[in-house]
Structures are given as C-alpha cells and as structure tokens.
Amino acid sequence: MVNFDLMTVEAIASKVEDNSLIGIPADYSGVPMSVTIEIIKRKKRNLRLYCLPLTTIQGDMLIGSGCVKEIETAAVTLGEYGQAPRFQDAIENNKIKIKDSTCPALHAQLQATEKSVPFMPLRGIIGSDLYHNRKDWSVIDNPVKTHSKDDEKIVILPAVQLDVLIFHAAKADINGNVQIGRRRELATLAHAAKKVYVTVEEIVNEDFFECELKASATLPSLYIDGISLSKNGAWPCGLTDYYTLDSEEMNKYAKAAKHQETFDAYMKNFISQSFYSNN
C-alpha cells in the first residue's frame, strides 16, 4: 500500500494537453520513453518542447510523429548515433518552429521561475546569432556598477514556467518521494513546472526522509502530481544503476528515422509491441 495516487502510464500521457509546454529531460536525466509512446499513440498535437538542455530519441520521435509545434533547445542529437533525422527534416522543411538556445540559458530561465523572479541575467551570448533570433531576450546595461567594467552589457532572459514535466526515475518511496540522485536538473525542472508526473522502475516500502543519504538524493513529493510504475521506462535510453543505453536499438532507430516512411514503419512496429510493463 502506498500513500499516494498510483497512476498508469496511459493516465499520465492523457494528462498532456495539446499546445502545452512540456519539460524534456536530457538523455542522462531519465527519459520517459514509455509515456512518450503513449503520447504518440494518443496523437497529441502542437506540443511545445522545452529541453533541459537537449533531447535525443524522445524529441526526434515526437517530432517525427507530428506531435510538435515548437522546440526550445540547445541541441537535438542522437549522440554517438548521429544527427536526429526527423528533427533535421522538420527544420529543413519548416515544419516546426525552433527557439535555438544554449544550455545555461535553458537552466537560467527555469531558475528564474524557481525563484519567482521575472528574469535572470546571463553572461555570454552577446554577439551570437542565437541572440539575434530571440525576440524574448534582451540586452541591458549592467545596473550594478563595478570598478572594472562600468559599461558592461548583459543579456536578460525571461522566466519560463512549464505546463507539465514528465521524467523517468529509479525509485519512489511509499510517500511518493522520488529518487533523482545527482540529476538535480530534475529538481529545477520540477520547481518550474505546474504539473509533474514521474515513472519509476520500482516503488520501495520505506520513506527516503528517514535516511539523510537517501533524503539528499530525493525530489520531495510536494512537487509531484502523479507516479506510475514503468519497468524499463527509459528504454532504449539508459538509467543510472539500472541499465545502459541500448546501442542496437539506437542504431536501428537512427537508420529507420532517416526517411519518414521507414520512420513510420518503425513507429508502427514499436507501438504495436509491449516493451514496457507496469509490474
């Protein structure tokens, strides 16, 4: 028995509304692939992806499946498996809008919401074409005068609040606290999101707050709106201490995604199988 509402993967997917701004974790932060497949099955449309700070197969699949209207990211890539083909195709053929960004800016915009301030300053960026293509960014004169640089120019980034965040993690405890380990960017994402749903490999019969080490690795339940059990929920991506990325499947995907037709066939097959179990 757990002291929180256990959801199904399907129920989490159905919480994602068309047009919503979704937080997308990087390949190392627990990619929620089982929910992603359910989102694709449900033909969600016009999603806006906010990547912290990049996406791999998850973003490429969502784009290839026609679910995405806009993406804000520092990169979309399959890493060692090459460029992200459906993303490339979508950009080269003007199918989706992109807000090209840089990793620390994606962090800072969420940290602004975390602190409920309307903006964050960030150094760098000035002189890049990233800046010239972002109407929501501006440059101001540093309002704090220092001895060395009286006339410093600095970039101002707006706070961004996510409609929903979904990620996959190792464990939840009986009170709905989730173990995120060193992946603290998940805490930033959660703090900046209106709704947070998590899939986990297992639910353990303890309270992480009873042990200082475990508490240190925990995202508290107060930020979490629903949890689902989903074994291998990040597959073919990896999950720290559980499984590594599936090279063979990534190669298979990278090849299939090169063309829309072969991608469609790959996805049809993927959806028809039951790779993820709820128990």
């Binding site: 990169a75 490339q88 940290q111 992946r183």
Partner: protein
C-alpha cells in the same frame, strides 16, 4: 614499433595542450578530447600538478553533484581551465557554427545545435576548437550562423575564448588581438600548401612550423591499456571502432 593510428596522434597532440591545466571538462560527443584528457590525467598521476578530468557523459568521471548546470556555473566561476568546442563551420575570426548551413532559420542542412558554446566560449580561459575534417566546407571564410563569436567588444565580459584549433591536418593558435589563426604544427602527411588550399580562411604561417609528433611507445601503451577501456564506458561506438574491433 607499433603502428600508431591517426586518432591516436590527435589524442597525443591534444594531450600536450593540457600541460598546465588543473581541471579539464569534456562535453557531449567528444571521444578524442576525452581520451586526451584521461591520458594527461594518467601521465600526471604521480606528479605535483594533478589533473582533474570531468567527462559529463560518464557516471564515473563526472565530478559534479549539482546537476547539469554545474558545468556552466563552475566554468563561469573560473574553475575549468580547458574545454573543447567543435563546429559545423569555423571561420578565420574563430566564430563557430554548430547549428547548420544555409539561411537561418530555414537551413539547407541542420545540425544538432549550439549546446553550451554561447557561454563556455566566453568564460573558459583555454578553449580548444576541435574538428577532424579539414576542408573548405568546415573551415570557412565566414560562418553561416554564429553559435558563439570568436571575439567580443570590451564591454562584454569575456575572460575566456579560443586558444587553439586542431584538425586532422594541423594545429593552429589564435591571436585575439590580431583576430586570426597562426599555424603551429602540421600533420606530416600534408604539405603547408595542401593545408592552405583546404582552409577556407587565411591564416598566418610560421617560420618554426613543426610536425605533429609521434606519441612514444610508453604513451601508446598507456593509451591502449589504461585509457581505452575507460573510454569504452562512455563512448562505446568510438572505442570499439578504434581499439576493440
């Protein structure tokens, strides 16, 4: 003597550039720089100036505990001495383009994106630009899109920036004041003239031009016996192809 592989020469050359560093960080998809950093760390293990290597995509070689923003925060704090950046295109003023070719936003060919370059290029003192392919297609007169600029005006905070550019044909140093590259070393398989022809921008030549140096047998042994198995953990595709095929 063992046959030395081309990537091993690059690894060895890059490793030499890390001589005075205390902390080198390695970002996404950088197996050659990552191998070079681990090699330098191993070689200085028993010296006074130890090298710390943070490989972001590795569980074991990641020294951070504050999430993925810590690389950028620590770099902005001045705690990272060297970082590597690549580029779809790199131009003669060291502007780098990681986004794609053609007219943005509707590009002819889209690449992955700018990653952290638009901050890292400004704050890390020694940025080494690394791009294996040395052609007029990659080393261009002017990049199509500036992910991060090579130089900045004085009213922009910029303690860091480009120091070197290394390709499979040559090693260049960058002169911030003159805003240009100078060739320092050349791959002995190519002539200077061939390098000039394969470079889309003009660069300064060097009276003391040296050749890429052959790694010693000892270094090759360290690389293959100690470093290769580590690299296999976080760049499996690369390591398998080079060392475990």
């Amino acid at each position: 003597m063992t046959e030395v592989l081309q990537p091993e020469i690059l690894i060895s050359e890059i490793s030499n550039l890390l001589r005075d560093d205390r902390h080198v960080a390695i970002g996404a998809a950088s197996p050659i720089p990552g191998s070079a950093a681990l090699l330098a760390e191993e070689e200085r293990k028993n010296s006074d100036l130890k090298l710390k290597v943070t490989i972001l995509h590795s569980q074991k070689f990641n020294n951070f505990t504050d999430g993925s923003r810590e690389l950028f925060d620590a770099s902005a704090q001045g705690r990272i001495d060297t970082f590597f950046l690549g580029g779809v295109q790199i131009d003669g003023e060291a502007n780098i383009n990681l986004v794609g070719t053609g007219r943005y936003p509707k590009l002819d060919k889209r690449f992955s994106g700018s990653f952290g370059s638009a901050l890292m290029y400004f704050v890390v003192p020694k940025i080494i630009l690394f791009r294996e392919e040395h052609t007029p297609r990659t080393l261009v007169k002017k990049v199509d899109f500036i992910s991060a600029p090579g130089i900045s005006p004085p009213n922009v905070y910029r303690p860091g920036g480009p120091k070197y550019l290394i390709t499979n044909r040559a090693l260049f140093s960058f002169n911030k004041k003159e805003k240009n590259f100078k060739i320092e070393k050349i791959n002995p398989e190519f002539t200077l003239d061939e390098v000039i022809k394969s470079t889309g921008f003009e660069f300064k030549t060097n009276k003391n031009l040296k050749y890429f140096s052959m790694p010693s047998q000892k270094r090759i042994d360290i690389l293959r016996n100690l470093i290769a198995p580590k690299v296999l953990n976080f760049y499996p595709q690369f390591a398998k192809k080079l060392w475990f095929n």
